[in-house]
Amino acid sequence: MTDAHLDIRQVTKTFPTPEGGVVVALDRVDLAIAEGEFFVMLGPSGCGKTSLLRCIAGLEYPDSGEILLDGSRIDDIPAYARPVNTVFQSYALFPHMSVAQNVAFGLEMERLPKNEIKSRVAAALEQVKLTGLDRRKPTQLSGGQQQRVALARALAKQPKVLLLDEPLSALDLKLRRGMQVELKRLQRETGITFVFVTHDQEEAMTMGDRIAVFNEGKIVQVGSPQEIYRRPVNGFVADFIGETNLIKVTVGSGGFIFPGGGVLARELLAEDCEVPAAGECLLAVRPEDFELVDTDAAVVGEVVDVIFTGGLIRLHVRAGDQEIVAALPSHGAVVPAVGDQTRLRPITKAARTVGS
């Protein structure tokens, strides 16, 4: 990942609001995406991820900043001349054209010879497993099939970068899982750089070689799914990616004093995080990183809820003024009941300090 294939430099985009104000959709965003990468842009709605995708596609123009593809600027050329293609959230198929005509459209715009168009349409339809449906109209297809047509239409152009704008959000869960696997396969087979926008953190973790987490028009963190899950840079990322307890603790001489009076020894903290000398700070602990202990408990409190979820049992423990969630293996020996006093501690090097 040394040379940037798609290089986004200081891109800013603002939109006027109907009330006469201004919304900053992208605030001086820098991002380098490598060739052949499955790159995911993740964030809550309105975080700027779709705006950036549309700026790359050429459907929006940045107010300032540059977008480079293989070292040359593309942000000032019109969308139709850019070697990137988009799979739209609503599929955006042409309702008056058949499946084959939809897929052929982009190739006809390139004025390719007829027989080449024909073979590339057939190849694209085979790639997305739609062979035999080429004469149907989009209205005669299921949502999943329409999705595949949109994919084939973009892939047939053999773009340098394929942009996918929440392409799976309209599919039901089972279909979505299947398409996730298939998109990974297509990306591996074609070697095309995929830039995939989603607000679903689970989808992002499943699919991305790397993930950029967006919030309020800025990129908060870029990294592999493991890095982002295990070493979130702040409370927002920790909370957005998976489930996290954000626990307000006081830094004392013996360690971190938890609400409710428990203490976590400083040595048990993850190694690569900053610890303030004194005062208060936030600790992030995943629910599955808690274990029941007899002594040296960090969380001491009353069990207020016990939820059986199959492999895991979720304990809601009230410690001081905070409720902490722990997910314990359901085959564990003793399962506390509601009303019990319980003692928990994060396993070694699982708790991290985070900025808010």
Binding site: G58, L59, A81, T86, L93, F105, G106, M109, K157
Partner: protein
């Protein structure tokens, strides 16, 4: 097991059909609307030369219509004016609708108001104005003047369905076309026009019907050589109400019904394709 349907109970504020006068009113309205048409058709087959006295069945008034040079000339004038005015007004309305897409919101509202207002202005005012205008700029009354006037008053009608269709279109296919490498001209030809086609067809039909049917403006503008069919029929009735008027009207009725049916069938074929 019966297939799952998603039908929802229809919401009604008031169920009008429960009111005692509902049936009677409905029947009276339908009779008022369609009985005159039935009478026209019925008396067109009347043998008697006085239109409202039935004496026997005959096709002779149809024969009269088909062999009357004045009627045929008026019909020809009407068709020429209607066809040309339809083409011109539909093209202009299409251009206006596409042009308005690019305007800022306030400009679009203003433009739409300007183009739509003639729908609300009494036609007699427009007709007097048009006549005065043509006399001032010395456009000779006749075919050209008729075509110009008809084109002008058909534009708002042609614009109505085109704009409705345009407003109902999703922006996404246009973005997809750009994304796939189509420039503005290619988008217009391959995406915009095919998607607008039903609106354009409806607009053209509306313009054609309005033009063919027009009396007031045509009466003012036609001049001696360019009498249109409605103007001629008016003249026929003033001099002598013969069943020939009924026969002519029946033929017009069949013509418009055929046109409606053709459009309906055309739409069905397009949809099932």
């Amino acid at each position: 097991m019966s297939p799952v349907t998603t039908s929802r109970p229809r919401r009604r504020l008031v169920n009008l059909s429960n009111f005692p006068l509902f049936r009677g009113t409905s029947i009276a309205v339908l009779v008022g609307m369609y009985l005159p048409l039935l009478l026209v058709v019925f008396y067109s087959f009347n043998q008697n030369r006085l239109a409202q006295i039935w004496t026997g069945f005959s096709f002779k008034w149809y024969d009269f219509v088909f062999h009357n040079d004045d009627i045929l000339r008026a019909l020809k004038n009407s068709l020429i004016v209607a066809v040309v005015a339809t083409i011109l007004s539909t093209l202009l309305a299409l251009g206006a609708a596409l042009g308005m897409l690019r305007m800022a919101r306030s400009g679009r509202v203003f433009a739409w108001g300007l183009l739509g207002a003639p729908l609300l202005i009494p036609e007699i005012v427009l007709a007097v104005g048009t006549l005065g205008f043509f006399l001032t700029i010395k456009v000779p009354l006749g075919h050209v003047a008729l075509i110009l006037a008809h084109t002008a008053f058909c534009i708002p009608f042609a614009l109505l369905p085109i704009r409705a269709r345009l407003a109902g279109l999703d922006a996404a296919p246009f973005e997809a076309a750009t994304d796939l490498g189509a420039n503005e001209w290619q988008i217009l030809r391959r995406i915009t026009l095919p998607l607008l086609a039903p609106g354009i067809l409806a607009g053209a039909l509306l313009a054609f019907a309005i033009s063919l049917d027009d009396f007031i403006t045509s009466f003012f503008i036609a001049g001696p050589g360019a009498t249109t069919l409605p103007v001629y029929i008016f003249g026929m009735i003033r001099s002598n109400v013969t069943p020939a008027v009924n026969a002519l009207s029946t033929l017009l009725l069949i013509f418009s019904a055929t046109m409606l049916l053709a459009v309906y069938l055309l739409n069905r074929i397009r949809r099932s394709d």
